[in-house]
Symmetry: C2
Subunit: 355 residues, 2 copies
């Protein structure tokens, strides 16, 4: 589907569904509103799916992987080869996202959207857990020029949309976002600075764990990248291509695709939320389909959440990415749905109501 | 066992176990510390159980039920008969705690420790899910005198200790606390005011949902109860008996018993944490065995958590009680343990470390 046609098909969720869900919640054997945000999650799921009894039996977290030319500027504590090594770790089931996705009953789909490594040459082909959709072999160093062309960024978005379509069609009922890409807090911070108007210092964190000097260098690299590319803050795709990354674009696409498919999508941490901000600025109605998984320890995250208007489900000082927060938050969101679906009403349980 | 002998058997957890657990956490394929509080939960479980590979296969939430004489002072939005009605709802599996315990893979054990209703007369006998350990048939109206005698309060504590012993012996690996008792935010607020030194106004909330006038009445009832009983703030059992409740005492006992059995215990919301504060003041080492499930919307909760020195796992605007927050938090704590146990190390996954 043409991107613009798809975007115009995205609608706000229908408040009537949330209202009916609230009526049911208020008939359950508990003081009204006493399950707090769990009630809110249930209402949002009903409104998104337009189904009074939503089902979350099939869950999937998409972990988009991409490399970043800007890694050569010394912005990360880890060497670049960790990106493909972690992709192998995801496939072998040993990474944090594998553990927490198993815990949440979710599948993990690893998407090579921009890794600078030849997985086909290494014998790895598309499978149920590995998707080969490489648009770039790593982005270019954004300190010296655009990370990607506009065409590449759009293609990455379309990869995400395509996955959303495919997995919605396969019957998956909730999506999670995740990513892997050494240096990817650098483009995420750059995007955050440009699109929220905050200073680079205020929204740049320590990523995988850099020291003070490396942090100062990272801030300078981000400032230089913005100065070199002059991204247009009124054009999210321009920002995404010039100072973004392939996995960030894939996540933005997945979210757009989720909204078009009336499927809830749980946004992981800082990098995923940078992707969500791009999706939101492309089409603000996508927000209705988003759940913010958690508050990352990465300092810029709060600013993007506020910009979109999302309140995170969890706050556990996590900062790993991969989709770990999204997997964990799915369990809480599902808890809210079960409260809504499984609790007895005052009438069913013969419990007296409020005096 | 004599209470004092039991108390003297409670030890602080051994920091060496947490240290060894941290070494393993730092060898896993993630930046050090990047799983945030999930790492902390895993370390605490290792230290509590003195086991490098703890298992949480059998979980149980104890929902202690009791009535309160002070209910006749119009402090609750719900009539008193809701306490036994909700006990039946728990047994039939239709309450919030049943739903979330199923979600967390935990069993629910409902304990009649002080309900003003004859369940035996109604045909209900002790079973795997219902424990008949009635110490009082509701407390007395504390506005007019002590809620319980000191002897009754100690007996309620011993019920909790006995359950902890029994379920530890049966192989249960983690306990959760919960409660049901119309009007029980009133004694919880009274306990909080006396033991934290905060003003009654600052720590009194709206319980199941009372209006402004009823709230003002509730504050006055609490002030009158404290004035009438003059509980000794240096004697937690005196406070518990005069202005407490049977279920609060049972929870305090369960926590003491959990610590004595080196078993982690997840404290639910405001009322449970009032019980935890009593346990903590009786024996401060019990804190090492506690997890605070969530931050309740009930306004006094924060003050007790601070007094004990606990940071809650979740913050979801919940205020139902029953153990609902404890059940949900178990899922997050278990996620932390799985990260610790199941993730691949850098060596196993052949992933490069920090530069």
């Amino acid at each position: 589907m043409e991107l613009n046609t798809l975007l115009s098909s995205i609608k706000n969720t229908n408040g009537k569904f949330a209202e009916e869900a609230q009526n049911r919640l208020d008939s359950l054997t508990k003081p009204q509103g006493s399950m707090g945000r769990l009630e809110e999650f249930a209402k949002q799921l009903v409104a998104i799916t337009e189904n009074q009894m939503p089902v979350l039996d099939k869950k999937v977290v998409f972990t988009f992987a991409g490399d970043h030319g800007v890694a050569e500027e010394g912005v990360s504590a880890f060497p670049k080869e960790v990106t493909p090594q972690m992709v192998m770790n995801f496939i072998n089931g040993g990474a944090g996202i594998n553990v927490l996705a198993r815990h949440a009953g979710a599948e993990v789909v690893v998407v090579d959207i921009g890794v600078d490594y030849d997985f086909a040459g290494a014998g790895l082909k598309s499978s149920s857990t590995f998707v080969s959709s490489k648009i770039v072999s790593g982005t270019k160093n954004m300190r010296k020029g655009p990370a990607m062309t506009r065409d590449e960024a759009v293609k990455c978005i379309q990869v995400g949309i395509g996955l959303a379509d495919e997995y919605a069609k396969k019957g998956y009922k909730i999506f999670g976002t995740g990513e892997m890409g050494i240096a990817n807090t650098t483009p995420s911070s750059a995007i955050t600075a440009v699109l929220t108007g905050k200073s680079v210092e205020d929204i740049t964190g320590r990523g995988t764990g850099i020291n003070d000097d490396a942090w100062k260098n990272k801030v300078q690299v981000i400032k230089d990248s913005i100065a070199a590319n002059k991204p247009d803050k009124n054009d999210p795709v321009d920002v995404l291509s010039k100072i973004g990354g392939a996995e960030i674009a894939g996540i933005a696409g997945l979210i757009i695709g989720a909204a078009a498919n009336k499927t809830p999508v749980v946004i992981d941490g800082f990098i995923s939320t940078a992707g969500a901000l791009i999706a939101y600025l492309i089409e603000p109605k996508t927000r209705d389909y988003m759940f913010a998984a958690h508050m990352s320890q990465e300092v810029g995250h709060k600013s993007i959440l506020e910009k979109i208007g999302l309140r995170p489900v969890l706050d556990l000082d996590m900062r790993l990415g991969e989709g770990t927060g999204a997997a964990l938050a799915m369990l809480i969101i599902e808890g809210g749905l079960k409260i809504y679906k499984e609790m007895a009403t005052f009438a069913e349980a013969a419990v007296a109501g409020k005096k």
